[in-house]
C-alpha cells in the first residue's frame, strides 16, 4: 500500500501519465483515425504532451518562478541569491517557441482541411488518398 501511495501521490508520476496520455491519444488521432480533422487535433494533443515533458525538464524542487520580484533590492548579491533559487527559464522559453510553432502548423493544416473539404466533400483520408491517385492518373493520361 505504501509504495502505491508513494507513487500515486507523486506529482511526477501524474505529469508523466498526462503527457503520455496526450501523446498516445494524439498518435491515435493522427495515425489510426481516418478523419482529417481528428488528425489535426491529434497533432495538437501530441505536441501538447511533448511540451509538457519539455517544460517539466526545467522544474527544480523548492524553486521559484524565474522572475526577480524584489525590484527595489538592487544589491547584486541579493539578486544572485534569489536567482539561484529559481527554476530553469530555458525550457519555458523553448516551450513558448514550440507552442507558437505548433499553432502555426495546425492553422496551416486546418486551412488545408478546409480546402480539401471544399474540393472533395469528404474528410476520409483513405478516400482522399484514392482521389489523389486518381487525379494523378487522369492528369498523366489527359495531358495534351
Amino acid at each position: 500500500m505504501m509504495i502505491w501511495d508513494d507513487i500515486f501521490l507523486e506529482v511526477d508520476f501524474w505529469i508523466n501519465i498526462v503527457s503520455i496520455a496526450l501523446i498516445v491519444i494524439g498518435i491515435y488521432g493522427i495515425v489510426f483515425s481516418q478523419h482529417l480533422l481528428r488528425m489535426v487535433f491529434g497533432l495538437g494533443l501530441l505536441e501538447a504532451g511533448v511540451n509538457i515533458l519539455l517544460v517539466k525538464a526545467g522544474y527544480q524542487k523548492e524553486a521559484i518562478a524565474p522572475i526577480v520580484t524584489q525590484a527595489s533590492d538592487t544589491m547584486m548579491s541579493n539578486i544572485l541569491a534569489a536567482t539561484a533559487q529559481m527554476v530553469d527559464p530555458v525550457p519555458q522559453a523553448m516551450v513558448l517557441t514550440a507552442i507558437v510553432i505548433a499553432a502555426g502548423v495546425q492553422a496551416l493544416a486546418l486551412s488545408l482541411v478546409i480546402r480539401i473539404y471544399k474540393k472533395y466533400g469528404t474528410l476520409d483520408s483513405h478516400v482522399l488518398f484514392l482521389a489523389m491517385e486518381r487525379d494523378r492518373h487522369l492528369s498523366l493520361n489527359q495531358k495534351d
Binding site: I27, I30, V31, Q34, S125, H126, F129, L130, E133
Partner: protein, 623 residues
C-alpha cells in the same frame, strides 16, 4: 621519335569523330574516314619497332586523383590490339563508304559511333592502371551500346540486354577494384602486383572471380553468353564486322593484362575454389572449354547466317581464353594470335554474309543457295574465311589453333584437348552448312538476276581474305609482336621464326606446309588439265530426278534442316538452363519492383513512422 606519339593518334581520333559527327551524311566522308583509320594504324605501325623493344608510346593525357596518377600509354600488347582495331574499323568503314551508304539512312550515326568506339577502345588499350582501365571500360560499354542499338527494334532490344549485362560486369569489376584498393591502396598495375599477396586467399579468389566475371561478360563467356549473338547479328554489315572482329576481344585484352600481368598466372595456379574442389586455373580452363563448345553447337543450330557467325564469335573467344590460360609459351601465343586471326576471318565472313544479304535481302540460310556463280568474289572470301574459322591449313586459323592444341597436350590436359577438338568439329560442321546453304546447291529463282557486290564492298573483303592467307603463310609476322608481348609481360616466350614456331619436340613451318599444299593442289590441277580437262559445262537446271523431269521452279535440293541426325542426338542437351535463369531473374526483379512500389502507395503511411519509432525504441530498451 617523339615520346608523346600517342597524342597524334588521339588527335587523329578526335578529328575522326569530328568529321563523322559533322559531315557523316556526305557521300565522300566514308573514304576520308577510312584513310584516317589507315593513317592512325600507320602511325602506330611506324613506331611499332619501339613497342617491340619493350618501350611504350605515351600520351600527354594524364590526371591525378586520389594520389593516383592516371595516364595513358600504349605498350606492345595494346599496340597489337590497336592495330587490329584500326584494321577492322578501317575496312568496315571502307565497306560502308560506297554504294552501301546510300542504302543506309543513319549513316552519320554509324560513322560517329564507329569513331567513338575506336577512340574508346584505344583509351582502353592504352590504359595503364585499374582506374584508367575502368573508365575506358565503361566508355567502351556505352559506345558499344550505342552502336549495337543503331538499327532500333530487335537490335535495340539486344542492346538493352547487352547494357544490363555490361553493367553487371562493370559492377563486378568495380567491386574487385575496390577490394584491391582496400588491400593495396593503389590502382597501378605495378603496385597491385607488388602488394598482391597482402590480400587474404579468400579475397584473392573473390577478386579473380569478379574480374573474370566482369571482363568475361564482354567476351560472353559462359554463363553470360546470351546477350552477344543477337547484339552482333542484327546490326548493319560494317558494324557487325567491326564488333565481331574486335569489340568483344576488349574483354580478352583486359583479362589478359589483368590475369597475366597483374595477378600472374602462378597465383591463379595456386588458388583453389572453396573446399579445394578444383583449381582456379583448371576451373577457368573448363569454363573456356565450355564457352568454346556450347556456343559453337548453338551456332550449328542457327538458320540465320549472321547469328551463326555471331555464335561462333563467342565460341572462338573460348578458344582464345583456353590458349591464354594454358600458361604456356605456345598457348598464350596461340591465344593472342587467334585474336588477330579471328578478327581477320570473322570480319571477312561477316562481310561476305552481309554482301549476300545486301544483294538478296536475306541472311536466312534456308532461303539461299547456289550463289557461287553470281557472287564469285564473295564466295571466295567466304571460302577463305571458313577455312580460317575451321582452323584448317593453309589459313591463319590453323596456326593459332595448332598452337593451342599443342599447348594443351604439352601441359598434359588431354581432356581439354578433346574438348577443343569437339569444338572444332562443331565449327567445321557449321561452316560447311554456312557455305553450302549460301553458295552451293541450287540457285533460287528469285536470285536469278543478282550480281556481285560493288568494288567498294568487295575490296575490303579481298584485303581481309588475303590477310587471312598471308598470315597463315607467314605466321612469323604476328609471332614477332606476340613474343615481344610475352617478354614484356614476363611470361615464357615463344620461339618463333617467319614460318612458324620451334617447340622442343617439333616444329611448325607454315611456309613448308602451305607450299606443299599449294604444290599438291597445283600438281592435281596440272594432272587434271593435262589429262584432257574432262569437264562439261551444264546449267544448274540440267538435272534429272529418277527419270522425272523437274520444272525449274521445283526444288530438288533442299538446304534446310541440316544435320538432322546430329541434331536429334544433341538437342536434348539444349535444355536452355541459362535462358530459364535469366527470365527467373527478370521476373524476380519485376516482383520486387512491384512490391516496393506498392509499399510506397499506402493510404496510411504515418503508420510506418510510428512503427519505426516503436520498433527502434523497443530495440533500444532491449539492448
Amino acid at each position: 621519335m617523339s615520346v608523346l606519339d600517342l597524342d597524334h593518334v588521339f588527335f587523329l581520333l578526335i578529328v575522326n569523330i569530328g568529321i563523322a559527327v559533322l559531315w557523316g551524311n556526305r557521300p565522300f566522308v566514308g573514304k576520308i574516314l577510312t584513310l584516317l583509320y589507315i593513317l592512325e594504324g600507320l602511325s602506330i605501325l611506324t613506331s611499332y619497332h619501339v613497342l617491340l623493344s619493350g618501350a611504350v608510346l605515351s600520351s600527354s593525357l594524364t590526371f591525378t586523383v586520389m594520389q593516383q596518377t592516371v595516364q595513358w600509354q600504349l605498350g606492345v600488347s595494346g599496340g597489337f590490339f590497336a592495330l587490329i582495331t584500326f584494321m577492322a574499323a578501317g575496312l568496315a568503314t571502307w565497306f560502308s563508304s560506297g554504294v552501301w551508304a546510300r542504302s543506309y539512312a543513319p549513316i552519320r550515326l554509324l560513322h560517329s559511333y564507329m569513331a567513338l568506339n575506336v577512340a574508346a577502345m584505344l583509351l582502353l588499350l592504352a590504359s595503364n592502371d585499374f582506374l584508367g582501365l575502368f573508365i575506358a571500360w565503361e566508355l567502351v560499354s556505352l559506345v558499344s551500346f550505342l552502336i549495337i542499338a543503331i538499327n532500333g527494334g530487335r537490335s535495340a532490344k539486344a542492346a538493352y540486354s547487352y547494357i544490363l549485362y555490361a553493367f553487371l560486369g562493370a559492377m563486378a569489376i568495380l567491386l574487385a577494384l575496390i577490394i584491391i584498393w582496400n588491400a593495396t591502396n593503389s590502382f597501378s598495375y605495378v603496385e597491385v602486383r607488388h602488394h598482391w599477396s597482402t590480400m587474404s586467399v579468400n579475397r584473392q579468389l573473390i577478386v579473380v572471380l569478379l574480374l573474370i566475371t566482369g571482363f568475361g561478360i564482354k567476351m560472353a563467356i559462359l554463363p553470360f553468353h546470351r546477350w552477344q549473338a543477337p547484339a552482333y547479328a542484327y546490326v548493319p554489315a560494317p558494324v557487325a564486322a567491326f564488333l565481331g572482329a574486335i569489340s568483344s576481344r576488349m574483354g580478352l585484352f583486359a583479362l589478359f593484362i589483368v590475369l597475366l600481368q597483374v595477378v600472374g598466372i602462378d597465383v591463379i595456379q595456386t588458388l583453389w575454389l572453396p573446399f579445394e574442389i578444383i583449381n582456379m586455373q583448371t576451373f577457368l580452363l573448363w569454363l573456356a572449354a565450355l564457352t568454346l563448345i556450347i556456343p559453337t553447337f548453338i551456332a550449328l543450330r542457327q538458320t540465320d547466317a549472321r547469328l551463326l557467325l555471331a555464335w561462333h564469335g563467342i565460341g572462338q573467344g573460348g578458344f582464345m581464353l583456353l590458349g591464354i590460360l594454358s600458361a604456356n609459351a605456345l598457348g598464350t601465343a596461340g591465344g593472342i594470335m587467334h585474336v588477330f586471326n579471328h578478327a581477320s576471318y570473322q570480319a571477312a565472313l561477316f562481310f561476305a554474309v552481309f554482301s549476300v544479304s545486301y544483294r538478296t535481302g536475306t541472311a536466312d540460310l534456308d532461303r539461299l543457295g547456289g550463289l557461287v556463280t553470281r557472287m564469285p568474289i564473295s564466295f571466295t572470301v567466304m571460302l577463305v574465311g571458313i577455312i580460317g574459322l575451321a582452323g584448317l591449313p593453309p589459313m591463319n586459323g590453323f596456326v593459332s589453333k595448332w598452337l593451342i592444341y599443342k599447348a594443351l597436350l604439352d601441359e598434359g590436359m588431354p581432356l581439354l584437348f578433346l574438348a577443343a577438338v569437339i569444338g572444332t568439329l562443331g565449327t567445321i560442321l557449321s561452316v560447311y552448312k554456312l557455305i553450302h546453304n549460301t553458295f552451293l546447291g541450287q540457285l533460287r529463282l528469285e536470285h536469278e538476276n543478282i550480281k556481285e557486290v560493288p568494288w567498294s564492298m568487295s575490296i575490303p573483303m579481298m584485303i581481309l581474305a588475303s590477310i587471312v592467307f598471308i598470315t597463315g603463310y607467314f605466321p612469323g609476322l604476328l609471332l614477332e609482336s606476340i613474343a615481344a608481348m610475352q617478354s614484356t609481360l614476363g611470361i615464357s616466350v615463344v620461339d618463333y621464326h617467319l614460318g612458324g614456331v620451334n617447340t622442343g619436340k617439333g616444329n611448325l613451318n607454315m611456309i613448308v606446309v602451305v607450299s606443299t599444299m599449294l604444290m599438291a593442289i597445283g600438281m592435281g590441277a596440272l594432272i587434271f588439265f593435262v589429262l584432257g580437262n574432262p569437264r562439261k559445262q551444264v546449267t544448274q537446271w540440267d538435272n534429272y530426278a529418277g527419270g522425272h523431269f523437274l520444272t525449274s521452279d521445283m526444288r530438288y535440293q533442299y538446304s534446310h534442316n541440316f544435320y538432322p541426325g546430329l541434331m536429334r542426338v544433341i538437342s536434348p542437351l539444349y535444355r536452355n538452363t541459362i535462358f530459364w535463369l535469366e527470365s527467373a531473374i527478370v521476373s524476380t526483379v519485376q516482383f520486387m519492383a512491384h512490391i516496393s512500389y506498392a509499399l510506397f502507395m499506402q493510404a496510411n503511411y504515418l503508420l510506418y513512422l510510428i512503427l519505426l519509432v516503436v520498433i527502434s525504441l523497443l530495440w533500444v530498451l532491449a539492448v
